[in-house]
């Protein structure tokens, strides 16, 4: 668990914590644990509402608008509905795995928020390996998803689970490589330090290619459209959670949106300057950026058809992986050569190189017409 590391590591890093916070380690821990849980659960309802309304607008329909003012209570109503639903476990299911899967999937997503700063120093644990922790913890969720796929004893679910594992294994690599670029520029793995390094310029300007790679790979990793193969409703009915009902289904639903929220938060932290911003309070900037990133995801979902599993793999290995390597090389060279002159020279150069690379790759790499051999 993270507790021991937290005790020593966070004490030192608590320096930027505002002095009027409730004092002491345990108070800090309690306060932020409750805050993170409340934040995740309430924000998930928020993003579900946003997704449904915005998606509806984009699809020229209304979306939920009956429950409460502007349909704001729709998520609550849905939550109550699934809570009182019958919990069905298939007779042939692996009962223990079937029961555990939603928990295994849900817990790591909440844990990601432990290291995401809401304001300067306002985070549960300022781990000095923060971003590594995010990457490590967030991939545990796929274990839960595969458990669901395997434990349901359902062929659709199994196919969904297998697709999930395949995509996670592939997309982890470009994801980490894209993060490394940011880490090189910021010179730290701690998310709070990364945000502070973006005092003047958000890293999306310094790392345009890294941003695109990270966003794409993260979308694939959390199975947002167009990479939502594992629950591909037109093929696998509901994919890995075909056999889930009631609260356990709700947990998976929660995981889906909590993951989207986590990715939005990490993107906002790594590339958009986190809580940094003029005039408004930091936490509002942070929330605004999270919602903005989430809206982009909704937009993509409303536009794109779904890719196929082999195309998904090919895209990871033939397009994202080399680009991520090149991006890392480039960033490393820049950091080594002009450590002082980072922003001014590097921004135009990086944009030019990113544009060039994307054009080259889009010429030579097609998602594949027809059969793609991986």
């Amino acid at each position: 668990m993270m507790m021991p590391d937290f005790g020593t590591g966070a004490r030192i890093a608590l320096a930027p914590l505002p002095p009027d916070w409730p004092g002491g380690f345990w108070w800090h821990w309690l306060f932020f644990t409750v805050l993170v849980l409340a934040f995740v659960l309430s924000m998930v309802m928020g993003v579900i509402y946003i997704e449904r309304r915005v998606l509806a607008r984009m699809q020229s329909r209304l979306g939920p608008n009956r429950t409460g003012p502007f349909g704001l209570l729709q998520a609550v109503a849905d939550a109550v509905k699934v809570l009182i639903k019958e919990n069905i476990v298939p007779a042939a299911a692996d009962k223990v795995v079937h029961w555990l899967a939603p928990v295994v999937a849900f817990a790591p997503v909440v844990m990601v928020f432990a290291v995401v700063p809401f304001a300067n120093g306002a985070l549960l644990a300022d781990l000095n390996i923060g971003i590594l922790y995010v990457v490590a913890v967030s991939s545990i969720a796929s274990v839960g998803i595969f458990m669901a796929g395997w434990g349901s004893s359902n062929k659709y679910a199994l196919l969904g689970g297998m697709r999930d594992v395949a995509s996670i294994v592939s997309y982890e690599i470009p994801l980490v490589l894209a993060i490394l670029g940011v880490v090189l520029v910021a010179g730290s793995l701690s998310l709070n330090d990364i945000v502070q390094a973006q005092q003047n310029i958000p890293f999306i300007l310094v790392q345009p290619l890294g941003f695109l790679l990270f966003f794409t790979a993260a979308c694939a990793e959390i199975n947002r459209s167009p990479f939502d193969l594992l629950e591909a409703d037109s093929e696998l009915t509901a994919g890995f959670h075909t056999e889930y009902s009631g609260m356990k289904f709700a947990m998976f639903y929660l995981v889906e949106y909590a993951e989207a929220l986590a990715v939005s938060a990490v993107v906002a932290t790594l590339f958009l300057g986190g809580w940094q911003g003029p005039v408004l309070p930091p936490w509002l900037w942070f929330l605004g950026k999270v919602f903005f990133v989430f809206l982009v995801m909704v937009w993509v979902r409303a536009t794109m058809p779904r890719v196929r599993i082999d195309q998904l793999m090919a895209f990871a290995w033939k397009c994202l992986f080399p680009l991520a390597l090149l991006n890392l090389l480039l960033t490393a060279a820049e950091v080594a050569l002009w450590p002082g002159a980072m922003p001014l020279i590097v921004i135009p150069i990086n944009f030019a190189i990113a544009g060039l690379l994307i054009i080259i790759w889009s010429k030579f790499f097609k998602l594949g017409w027809g059969r793609v051999e991986v």
Binding site: L55, M58, Q59, S60, R61, K155, Y156, L159, M162, R163, S225, P226, D228, L229, A232, D233, S234, E235, L236, T237, R301, A302, T303, M304, P305, R306, V307, R308, I309, D310, Q311, K366, L367, G368, W369, G370, R371
Partner: protein
């Protein structure tokens, strides 16, 4: 040590989001790859052909609505044309023009649903589907103006139409026609060069013209192979020889071509309706003088039309009583399905759904 794998059987349907009804496929899969499928049909069998024998000639028209319920008007029309041929009824010109207009509107409505649900099968989360339904809704509104119904219109009669069009129909149709090309352009902007859509559909589910002809496949699926066969040109019925229109054909018979052919056909349908509206006689009967109890002379007749899905034919046999002796329907959807097995072998599960969706079937017609 090599890991031992074995194929497994996945039962897709009859209740599945992408089977467009109650189609069932018993798919043998090796991982994600489809080794073989076994289509199982008949879940929606209602014995419509047999029911025809217990009804009068006119009384069977409502049942034809239930065949391909996506395009009921075309079914009505094909059946009425068969009986008209049998009884030697001459349809007034105004009715013929209106039939052309209605049939082409029906084609637009059908292709909107076909392409919309096809894109849904591709995984585009309902956006193209709903955009297309938005326009289809306008066609349905127009049909409601005509017949009072929105799905099963029961509007055609032997010898013409059940009633004349209401006054507000033509202006409303005019408004629809003015907007429709822009909407088709909108779909094209969204989808025509969408990289993911191209990746999913280009080269997927190819069927050759020869194979398609051997399976007596017709309609957009046949035309997508590059073989130009459209009954409106090949055997002009109604007044189709009076209109200028092109028959769009595909290049290689893959899913993308089928999608594009349907898109282009909508443009051509708009063109035909424009011309038909120009020539439409403003006055005149819409129904020939046909007795309520029709006794067609002994004999048989076959009439076929280019329904939105392909060649739809009705073979009606009469023994000079008030009920048909036998009605046989040439179901487009069923025949278009026959090549499905060859088309999907060796593709992935996701492609299976896409290929199936691109054929555009209606289970009401497959099972009858």
């Amino acid at each position: 040590m090599a890991i031992k794998t074995e194929p497994f059987v996945l039962n897709i349907g009859p209740v599945h989001p992408s089977t467009h009804g109650v189609f069932r496929m018993r798919a043998t899969l090796d991982g994600e790859v489809v080794l073989d499928i076994e289509p199982v049909i008949g879940y929606l069998h209602r014995g419509i052909e047999k029911l025809a024998e217990q009804r009068t000639f006119t009384g069977f028209i409502p049942l034809t609505d239930r065949l391909d319920y996506i395009s009921s008007m075309s079914n009505n029309m094909a059946y009425c044309m068969a009986v008209e041929k049998l009884a030697g009824v001459k349809v007034p010109e105004r009715a013929q023009y209106l039939r052309v207009i209605i049939a082409e509107m029906q084609r637009i409505a059908n292709h909107l649903i076909a392409n919309g649900s096809f894109l849904n099968d591709c995984g585009a989360y309902f956006t193209p589907f709903l955009y297309m339904f938005r326009e289809r809704e306008k066609v349905v509104d127009l049909f409601e103006m005509l017949s009072g119904q929105r799905l099963t219109y029961n509007f055609m009669r032997i010898g013409g139409l059940s009633q004349d069009i209401p006054d507000e129909f033509l202006p409303a149709l005019r408004r629809f026609l003015d907007k429709m090309p822009a909407f088709i352009d909108e779909y094209d902007r969204l989808l025509k060069e969408n990289e993911v859509l191209l990746a999913r559909t280009r080269g997927v589910g190819i069927i050759t013209a020869e194979k398609a002809l051997n399976c007596s496949i017709s309609g957009p699926v046949l035309r997508s192979t590059g073989y130009s066969w459209d009954l409106r040109k090949a055997d002009p019925y109604l007044l189709y020889d009076r209109f200028n229109f092109d028959v769009p054909v595909g290049m290689q018979g893959d899913c993308y071509d089928r999608f594009r052919v349907r898109m282009e056909e909508m443009r051509q349908s708009v063109r035909i309706i424009e011309q038909a509206l120009k020539d439409l006689p403003l006055k005149g009967a819409v129904r020939a003088d046909v007795p309520q109890r029709l006794h067609p002379p002994k004999g048989e007749a076959y009439a076929h039309i280019e329904s939105p899905k392909g060649e739809l034919g009705f073979h009606v046999v009469s023994d000079n009583s008030i009920a048909p002796y036998r009605v046989h329907i040439r179901p487009t959807s069923l025949l278009n399905l026959t090549a499905l097995r060859e088309m999907v072998r060796g593709w992935k599960v996701a492609d299976l759904i896409v290929i199936f969706g691109s054929i555009d079937i209606c289970l009401g017609e497959v099972d009858r």
